[in-house]
C-alpha cells in the first residue's frame, strides 16, 4: 500500500521540480538575451542587476534540486523489503553451493575409503599406500577449510 502511495508522490515532486527548472531556463534565456543586446555591457544592464537576476535563477534550480533529492528518498522508501529479498536469494545461492561442495568432498572421501577397503580386502598392503595417502591429504585439506 505504502509503495503505491509513494509512486505518485515522488512523481508529483519530480513534476514540480521539472517546472521549476523550466522557469529557471526561461529566466536564463531572458538574461542572456539582455546581456547580448547591449554592447558594451556597461551601457545597459548593470553587473549588480545581472547578478541579482542570476541569483533568482540559481534559487529556482536549488529548489528543483531539493525536490529531486526528496523524490529520490521517497523512491527508495519501499525498497527495504525488495533489497532484503535479493540479499536472501544471494545467501541461499551461497548455501546451495556450499552444500554441493560438501557432497563432492564426501564423494572423494568415499572413493578413497573404498580404495583402502579394497586393498585391505585383497590383502595387498603395498596397494594400501596410495589410497591412504590420498585420504590423509583430503581430510587434511577439509580440516583446513573448516578451520579457515
Amino acid at each position: 500500500m505504502n509503495q503505491t502511495a509513494a509512486v505518485p508522490r515522488n512523481h508529483d515532486l519530480e513534476a514540480l521540480a521539472d517546472s521549476l527548472s523550466a522557469c529557471a531556463d526561461e529566466l536564463h534565456a531572458r538574461l542572456m538575451r539582455a546581456l547580448r543586446r547591449q554592447q558594451p555591457v556597461e551601457a545597459g544592464l548593470s553587473q549588480g542587476a545581472a547578478q541579482a537576476l542570476f541569483e533568482h535563477e540559481v534559487a529556482l534550480r536549488q529548489q528543483a534540486n531539493n525536490l529531486y533529492v526528496e523524490a529520490a528518498a521517497i523512491a527508495l522508501d519501499g525498497m527495504g523489503a525488495t533489497q532484503q529479498e535479493l540479499l536472501e536469494l544471494a545467501a541461499q545461492a551461497r548455501r546451495t553451493i556450499r552444500g554441493i561442495k560438501r557432497s563432492k568432498d564426501l564423494a572423494g572421501v568415499a572413493a578413497d575409503l573404498l580404495g583402502v577397503a579394497a586393498a585391505v580386502a585383497a590383502m595387498q598392503p603395498e596397494r594400501l599406500l596410495t589410497p591412504l595417502q590420498n585420504l590423509k591429504s583430503r581430510l587434511a585439506s577439509l580440516h583446513d577449510e573448516n578451520s579457515a
Partner: protein, 282 residues
C-alpha cells in the same frame, strides 16, 4: 556385482549429458553486473554536488545549498545499499550457474573406477551396493538438470524484486541527471553572466582564463551527460535481459505464458514460491 558395475557406469555417462545453453545464458547475464558500476559512480557524484558547485555560489545560495547537501548525504547510503543488493543477487546467480557447479560426473567416474579397479578382491556385494547407492544419489541431485532447477527457482523468486530494484535505479538515475543539469546550468550560468563584465582591456587576463575554464567545464558536463544516459541504458538492458531469461524458462508454468509484457508498469510477476512473501510486502 556385474549389474551394479554396469549400472554405475551408465550413471556416470548420464551425469555428463544435458544442455548447457541456459547456464551459459545466465552466466552471461550475471557477468553484466559490473555495468551497474555507472550507477554507483553517479550516485557518488550526486552526493558531491555541493563540493563542485561551491566556488560558483553566492553567500545566500551557499547557505541554501548546504541544506540540500545534507539531504544528499543522508540519501547516499540507501543508493549504495540498493546497488549492493542487486549485485549480490547477480553474483549469486552467476555462481549458481557456474560451469560444472553441479557436475558430479568427475566424482562418479572416480568412484566407479575405484570399484572396477578392484574386482573380485573380496569386497562384498553389500559394500559395493552401499557405495553404488551413494553414487546414484549424487547423480540424482547433481547434474545439469538439478543445476537448471536451482537456477530457475532463483530466477523466478528474484523476478519481482530485481525488476523493482532496477526500476528504482532507473528512476534515481533520472533524478541524478536532472540534478546534474541544474548543477551544470548554475556553474555555466555564473560564468556566462560574469564573463561579459570581465571582458575589458583592463582585465583581459581574467577574461581569457574564465573563457578557457568555461570551455573545460562545458566538455566535462557534456561527458557527464553521456555517462548518465549510458548508465540508464545499461540498467534498461539488464532489466530487459532478465525478463527475457524468465520468458525462456522451460517448462513454462501454466500461467506464465499469459504474462503481459515485462515493460508494462502493471506487469505481474510469474507465479513463484515467494508469492506469499511478495503479497505481504507493503
Amino acid at each position: 556385482m556385474r549389474t551394479i558395475l554396469s549400472c554405475i557406469a551408465l550413471l556416470a555417462l548420464l551425469a555428463g549429458c544435458a544442455s548447457e545453453s541456459r547456464l551459459a545464458e545466465v552466466r552471461g547475464f550475471a557477468d553484466e553486473a559490473p555495468k551497474l558500476a555507472g550507477f554507483a559512480d553517479l550516485s557518488a557524484r550526486f552526493r558531491d554536488t555541493y563540493k563542485r558547485e561551491q566556488p560558483y555560489l553566492s553567500a545566500e545560495a551557499d547557505a541554501r545549498e548546504q541544506a540540500i547537501d545534507s539531504k544528499r548525504h543522508q540519501a547516499y547510503p540507501d543508493f549504495v545499499a540498493l546497488h549492493e543488493a542487486v549485485t549480490a543477487y547477480l553474483r549469486g546467480l552467476g555462481a549458481l550457474a557456474g560451469k560444472g557447479r553441479y557436475d558430479f560426473s568427475g566424482e562418479v567416474r572416480a568412484m566407479s573406477a575405484g570399484i572396477q579397479a578392484w574386482p573380485d578382491t573380496g569386497l562384498l556385494d553389500r559394500h559395493v551396493d552401499a557405495y553404488a547407492r551413494l553414487v546414484r544419489l549424487m547423480v540424482r541431485y547433481g547434474g545439469l538438470r538439478e543445476q537448471d532447477k536451482a537456477l530457475q527457482a532463483m530466477l523466478r523468486d528474484g523476478y519481482r524484486p530485481l525488476q523493482d530494484a532496477l526500476d528504482a535505479m532507473h528512476t534515481l538515475l533520472r533524478y541524478f541527471n536532472k540534478n546534474h543539469d541544474n548543477e551544470q546550468r548554475i556553474v555555466m550560468g555564473m560564468l556566462a553572466v560574469e564573463i561579459p563584465y570581465a571582458d575589458t582591456p583592463q582585465s583581459r587576463l581574467l577574461a581569457a582564463l574564465a573563457k578557457s575554464h568555461q570551455q573545460e567545464k562545458a566538455g566535462e558536463y557534456r561527458l557527464l551527460g553521456l555517462r548518465h544516459t549510458l548508465a540508464a541504458k545499461n540498467v534498461d538492458a539488464l532489466r530487459a535481459r532478465h525478463a527475457q531469461l524468465l520468458r525462456g524458462l522451460a517448462p513454462a508454468p501454466e500461467d506464465y505464458g499469459a504474462t503481459p509484457p515485462i515493460y508494462a508498469p502493471a506487469a505481474q510477476p510469474p507465479a513463484s514460491p515467494t508469492a506469499a512473501l511478495q503479497g505481504a510486502r507493503p
